[in-house]
Symmetry: C2
Subunit: 400 residues, 2 copies
């Protein structure tokens, strides 16, 4: 059972978490708990590090920021003991969660679960700090923002848990953002690969890395509300989903920008000349389109994270000599809309439905990209809600 920052935001909510855990132990289940820092605490600690030094030592950052979960784990153990549940807190370095040495964004290498399993069999509930471990340098590491989901999934794998319940402030995975589409439906089940596409295109329920981990280790993950007592959405293997929907969800992202490199020579190696320096500068490029060539010259358009736009412009300007373009045209006023579904593989016409639906609403498609289980388009940002609602209806996702 993993509880996020809003679920442990104050003492009353921690008591609520304890009561929730007790219901499971009372029902005869063996439970391990993973907790995040109290909402707001991590941001405060990060802010302090940044104020003292914009380029602070990531090892010190980790030592400071990891204390947030350590406080919550201890308090949650106390709250459990208070209502008669045998519990003890475990800090990442105590379990240990062995990670690599990439401070600030470490990856879990191995979790030693034997002692926890032994204690759980004796009826004790381990309360484990999310988001952290210990590096080869014997210092505290953190996994990067949202890393507590990954901690929980990795611990569930190490404990060979039947299920990993992620308690959060939403009650499950929806066909799309319920704030935009009132008729969005909660999904009982969703395949790992679908969730991966949805997570990475803007549905911020689960951290992408935790979904990858769950898929690899085949951990059954349930996303559910920590404030209501309702079943949530279950992440499972595609094979477990009997009736596959052609499209199971529609995601959108407003964090995109489009950059066009005008009039570059249409010669072998030109893509490498553009995207090589961008990759070297750490700019992640997403969709790419190359226009039909005319008079030996072409336009190259691609999308990237909006915050990367200034850096990308600088990199390309610095390499203007080797690339040889006439101008850079940027547009940050765009949104990416994606339809996702494992059923897509066996159904023709998913992309076609998308294009026709958008055309009927008069929405111009600027860039298209497709994968096995996803079709994404870039459109003007002001059409975001209109497009998502129209597609939700077109694919038959609206609730009755």
């Amino acid at each position: 059972m993993k509880f996020g920052g809003t679920s442990v935001a104050d003492l009353d909510r921690i008591r609520n978490v304890a009561a929730r855990v007790k219901r499971e132990t009372d029902a005869g289940h063996e439970v391990a708990v993973v907790v995040s820092a109290m909402a707001g605490v991590t941001n405060q600690l990060v802010g302090w590090c940044q104020s003292l030094s914009p380029l602070h030592d990531a090892r010190e950052y980790d030592a400071v920021v990891a204390t947030g979960e350590q406080v919550t784990a201890g308090l949650t153990a106390i709250a459990l003991q208070e209502i008669g549940v045998d519990a003890r807190s475990w800090q990442g370095w105590q379990v240990p969660f062995a990670t690599d040495g990439a401070h600030g964004k470490a990856r879990i290498a191995a979790i030693e679960g034997a002692e926890l399993i032994r204690r759980m069999q004796m009826g004790q509930v381990p309360v484990v700090t999310g988001f952290q471990g210990i590096g080869p340098d014997n210092r505290v590491t953190t996994l990067g923002r949202g890393g507590s989901d990954t901690s929980a999934v990795a611990l569930a794998a190490a404990l060979r848990a039947d299920r990993c319940d992620i308690f959060t402030d939403v009650d499950g995975i929806y066909t799309t953002d319920p704030r935009i589409v009132a008729k969005a439906r909660k999904l009982d089940k969703i395949a790992y690969e679908e969730m991966l596409e949805l997570a990475s295109v803007g549905a911020k329920v689960l951290q992408t890395r935790s979904v990858e981990f769950a898929m690899k280790a085949r951990v059954r993950v349930q996303v559910l509300s920590s404030f209501e007592d309702l079943p949530g959405s279950l992440l499972v293997d595609e094979d477990e989903i009997v009736e596959k929907e052609m499209v199971s969800g529609i995601a959108y992202s407003r964090d995109e920008a489009k950059l066009t490199v005008r009039r570059v020579p249409d010669r072998p190696g030109i893509a490498a000349a553009i995207f090589g320096p961008l990759a070297a500068a750490g700019v992640n490029v997403d969709m790419i389109v190359q226009n039909i060539s005319a008079d030996g010259m072409t336009d190259m358009t691609f999308t990237l994270g909006r915050t990367d736009l200034p850096r990308a412009r600088r990199v390309l300007d610095d390499n203007r000599g080797t690339i040889g373009f006439s101008e850079l045209v940027a547009d940050a006023d765009v949104a990416k809309i994606s339809v996702v579904g494992v059923g897509m593989r066996s159904h023709a016409g998913v992309a076609n439905t998308m294009f026709r639906t958008l055309a009927e609403k008069g929405i111009n498609i600027q860039v298209i990209s497709t994968s096995e289980i996803k079709v994404s388009v870039l459109i003007g940002a002001e059409y975001t809600e209109l497009a998502v609602r129209a597609l939700h209806t077109a694919y038959g996702l609206d609730a009755a």
Copy 2:
């Protein structure tokens, strides 16, 4: 260099601490730093534990409360790096500070200083969390309130430091409380034993245990202000003080209470019958006076911490049958005044000066106790300031 909670209360003060440390390293000194939690943080964490469970697990309390210093240590290391000082934070379990298993009030058993010494020789400043260590159970322990002073002194001993500087919100040890006596003087040097008496009778500058540790390990401790750049007071061996004052300081405590057990049988074993049960209940008794016996009955008067008064009354009432007293008379409206000085040993008349001075001011002495280097009296609480000022003058301690 040890910095208390007010010295690291916010980011500006932490920057100030870093600048102070840099001055020492610039001067060619090897420095290790010990830090407390930011002022107020420990109280908040303790409050949370108590709210969740009045009888909380001390091991969980330690895990929660120890995070305060961990934050400060990381932030201080970042602040040092930012101004070009090579630094790294060390948590108690990393050094390690091995302690016994008495969670919440652990004692330091051993400090492994070799790696710190090696790094200091290479120019690195270790920033170590005060107040904590690791117990035999591989869990975080804390040393009890004020334990950071003890951490600093113990680390200084382990590193064979030339000096242990304790930076605090006062600028040294005074002949008495300057808030009461305007003419109080800062002492350049004070003997460990004197400081021990002063610390335990109410001058709250250094934690008693840290002074004991310094005396045992012969660590030269300097108490000085973290806000002004002035020399402080140096705790040293008595032999280092050339010109011994007869009286070097006057302390007072208002946390006392007096309890009289009226009309007990004056027989062997009566003291044990009274003080045995009190000790068993954890009540610390300080001064004891027994009246002259009359008709085979006597009164037994003693002082104790004011907060222990209700417990002491209950214990004695419970044992009324074996003790056989007529009534208990309590007085919480008292204060203890002590004059302290290693020079006292070789000077007769110190006590006499005290009694005469108080008599001249019309102050009645209720109880007297003496040790080799201390004379204490119990008086009515309303005379506290008057007594302290009169004695300060009488012993020639007033500043010119």
